[in-house]
């Protein structure tokens, strides 16, 4: 009991779990952990080719002449942290029945594992972004804010994960239900277009939900534009509330996990 109250104290254990999670994905692969770099590079090349050459896409109010793929990539990194986490959340607890039933373990930290792994991948994405910015000559001091801008989306993903992980234990269908919704979130979020392109009537929804606000803020930070702090802090507050609710929900259901698994 006392263990579960201080899961922050379990950070070494959490670190080990995340490390195992990331390593396990690449274990035995020929390029090994190099895939952490190769994957986002391939993705970046595809975006550069498809949007830069085929679509010749231009951002409507594109100030400083950054290529479209770079604009896209700077927002996509934030969205990927969310989507990687949330799509794996339903199985975050379900896949570790031994941890729930056989050992004394702070189960609350299990949903933090996909999040941690997503952040690790996000860090490599950001390194590539920095490289790309430097290469295109757009590197600016604003970029230092980029990791901080991610805070609401990380909390939001975590809150949602706690909900989904708890449900995932009881309802096997969750791992089927979630991915299409994540896909939908991708198209509804201002990843492929700026929030300013949406009709005025629903603009507020875009500026204050954690996904929209963070993607916009991240893009602004990466490209050295001014950040909309009011919508960002609104999103932060909302995310903190959702995280708290998610944890409460998870804890409320936690005692039934062992029975259901």
């Amino acid at each position: 009991m006392t263990n579960s109250k201080h899961w922050f104290a379990q950070r070494y254990l959490l670190g080990q779990l995340i490390k195992r999670d990331v390593l396990l994905r690449y274990r035995g692969a020929m390029f090994g952990v190099a895939w952490v770099f190769i994957n986002p590079l391939i993705m970046l090349c595809i975006y550069a080719y498809v949007f830069g050459h085929i679509f010749q896409a231009r951002w409507p109010q594109q100030g400083n002449g950054a290529p479209f793929w770079l604009v896209l990539y700077s927002g996509l990194i934030a969205f990927n942290i969310f989507s990687d986490t949330v799509s794996r959340a339903p199985t975050a607890v379900k896949n570790y029945p031994n941890f729930v039933k056989k050992i004394i373990f702070p189960v609350e930290i299990l949903p933090l594992v996909p999040l941690g792994a997503a952040i690790v991948h996000g860090v490599f994405n950001i390194l590539i972004l920095l490289g790309a910015l430097a290469w295109t000559g757009l590197l600016n001091s604003h970029v230092a804010l980029y990791p901080i801008m991610l805070a609401p989306i990380v909390l939001f993903a975590l809150g949602i994960s706690w909900f989904l992980a708890a449900w995932g234990v009881f309802i096997k269908d969750m791992s089927q239900i979630v991915p299409p919704f994540v896909q939908m979130a991708m198209f509804l979020s201002p990843v492929l277009y700026p929030a300013s392109a949406v009709p005025e009537a629903i603009r507020a929804f875009y500026s204050y939900n954690p996904l929209g606000a963070v993607i916009e803020a991240c893009r602004a930070a990466a490209l050295g534009q001014s950040i909309n702090w009011s919508s960002w802090s609104g999103a932060l507050v909302l995310s903190i509330i959702i995280t708290g609710l998610g944890l409460a929900f998870f804890r409320h259901n936690r005692e039934e996990f062992a029975d259901a698994l």
Binding site: M1, N3, Y12, L13, Q16, R20, L24, R27, G28, N98, F99, V100, K101, K102, I103, I104, F105, F170, I171, K172, E255, E256, A258, D259, A260
Partner: protein, 413 residues
């Protein structure tokens, strides 16, 4: 120190499981805010109270389903009690399943470090212990191979080594020592005794092996149907428990053991000889002619039977033998190791004519010496088909299939 708090104190502990028949029922229950009940309840533990003090090794015994594992899970805090409390004042290391935290893709070394992390040790703590663990596990070079390449013995050795070196105050072991070879088991036992020796550790030990419990534990708690039947010194409780088990076995034995009428060498006990209709679950004592039946023999042998002849036959109540099936006609007669067995003889079409019949049964060893033989064993009645007005049954014992052919004498057309 009589004024010390007990290290584990269990008060009025009750655990009720909610059993949902279908995954969707849980959702329904949730959506109706628990107003409507979609589940059944099963009480695994009822109002348990006891204390365990430092330095005690407590065995928990009882038959399958008596609530032993649930109790351990509750003490470990893995399950939450439905009512009552469990208080533990010290650090618990639970081994409810050996190697529960191991991931087969990682090496033994990585898994040991991870197991350490699960038990709250940092890398530095583990480095100090690692050599001891590896030495105890005796798996040599394999320590740097993925665990999936291990034999089950190696896996168990490493898992036990990692657990016993965790140096917990309360060690919980659930059936974990039933595995591994004799030599390693002995090593584990002496290690467990070392662990208990002198210092103020606690061991909670669940095993079906009563001898193990007697040997290691100072105290035992005997559970049955979620209640404490008796608790006290391990030797006394184990003896009482064994008496009870023996009595129960004896009782079922007495009630159902068939009495052979001819020979009983004592090597085979026939428990039941039953007749079933088709694939039915329940035995019958009345059956319609021309149905598929099977005769099921439940028997127990006390030593290995090598290629015995088993003979099942039908006879009338006045001992007219009608038909018999024997394993002697099989190209390969099976052996039966000591223990309980069930053998079925299937009859595609029961051609006995309506009346009352009995069965006989015999066991012969491979030298055709009779080990068990009896008749007038199970009595059953064969009935006429429901539409017997249509088919007139002939007198006699069996409804043999005849065919009439009417041909004229040769040459006369």
């Amino acid at each position: 120190m009589p004024f010390d708090d007990p290290a584990i104190s269990v008060r009025n502990l009750t655990k009720t499981y909610r059993l949902f028949g279908h995954a969707g029922d849980r959702v329904k229950q949730f959506l109706t805010f628990g107003v409507k009940r979609f589940h059944r309840e099963f009480t695994a533990l009822k109002d348990l109270s006891f204390d365990i003090n430092k330095g005690e090794a407590v065995g928990i015994i009882g038959r399958n389903g008596s609530g032993k594992s649930t109790l351990l899970q509750l003490i470990c805090g893995i399950l939450k009690p439905t009512s009552g409390t469990v208080q533990t004042h010290r650090r618990i290391s639970a081994l409810l399943e050996l190697g529960a935290g191991f991931n087969p893709e990682f090496t033994g070394r990585e898994n040991v470090y991870f197991q350490g992390a699960l038990m709250g040790f940092t890398r530095i703590d583990m480095e100090a212990r690692f050599d001891d663990i590896a030495a105890f596990a005796e798996i040599g070079e394999f320590i740097d191979q993925p665990v999936r390449t291990y034999s089950s013995g190696m896996f168990v050795r490493l898992a036990f080594a990692a657990m016993i070196h965790a140096d917990a105050d309360i060690l919980v072991i659930d059936e974990a020592l039933a595995v591994g070879d004799e030599a390693f088991q002995r090593k584990c036992f002496s290690k467990l005794l070392d662990y208990l020796d002198g210092n103020e550790k606690i061991l909670l030990f669940v095993s079906h092996n009563i001898r193990q419990v007697e040997r290691i534990c100072s105290r035992a708690i005997w559970l049955e149907d979620g209640r404490v039947v008796q608790q006290g010194p391990a030797r006394e409780i184990c003896a009482a428990y064994q008496d009870r088990i023996h009595q129960q076995v004896q009782d079922t034995h007495e009630r159902s053991k068939l009495r052979p009428t001819f020979v009983d060498s004592g090597e085979v006990d026939v428990i039941r000889l039953q007749l079933f209709k088709g694939a039915d679950e329940e035995p019958v004592d009345e059956i319609e002619i021309h149905t598929a039946v099977k005769v099921v023999i439940d028997f127990r042998c006390h030593s290995r039977l090598i290629a015995p002849d088993i003979i099942v036959g039908f006879h009338t109540t006045d001992s007219v033998f009608i038909a018999a099936a024997s394993t002697a006609i099989l190209p390969m007669q099976p052996d039966f190791p000591a223990g309980d067995h069930r053998v079925e003889v299937r009859v595609a079409d029961l051609i006995l004519l309506p009346g009352v019949y009995q069965m006989r049964l015999g066991f012969l060893d491979r030298h055709l010496r009779t080990m068990w033989s009896g008749h007038k064993l199970s009595t059953f009645r064969v009935t006429a088909p429901a539409r017997s007005d249509v088919i007139r049954l002939p007198p006699g014992l069996v409804d043999m299939q005849f065919e009439w052919v009417f041909a004229l004498p040769e040459g006369k057309q």
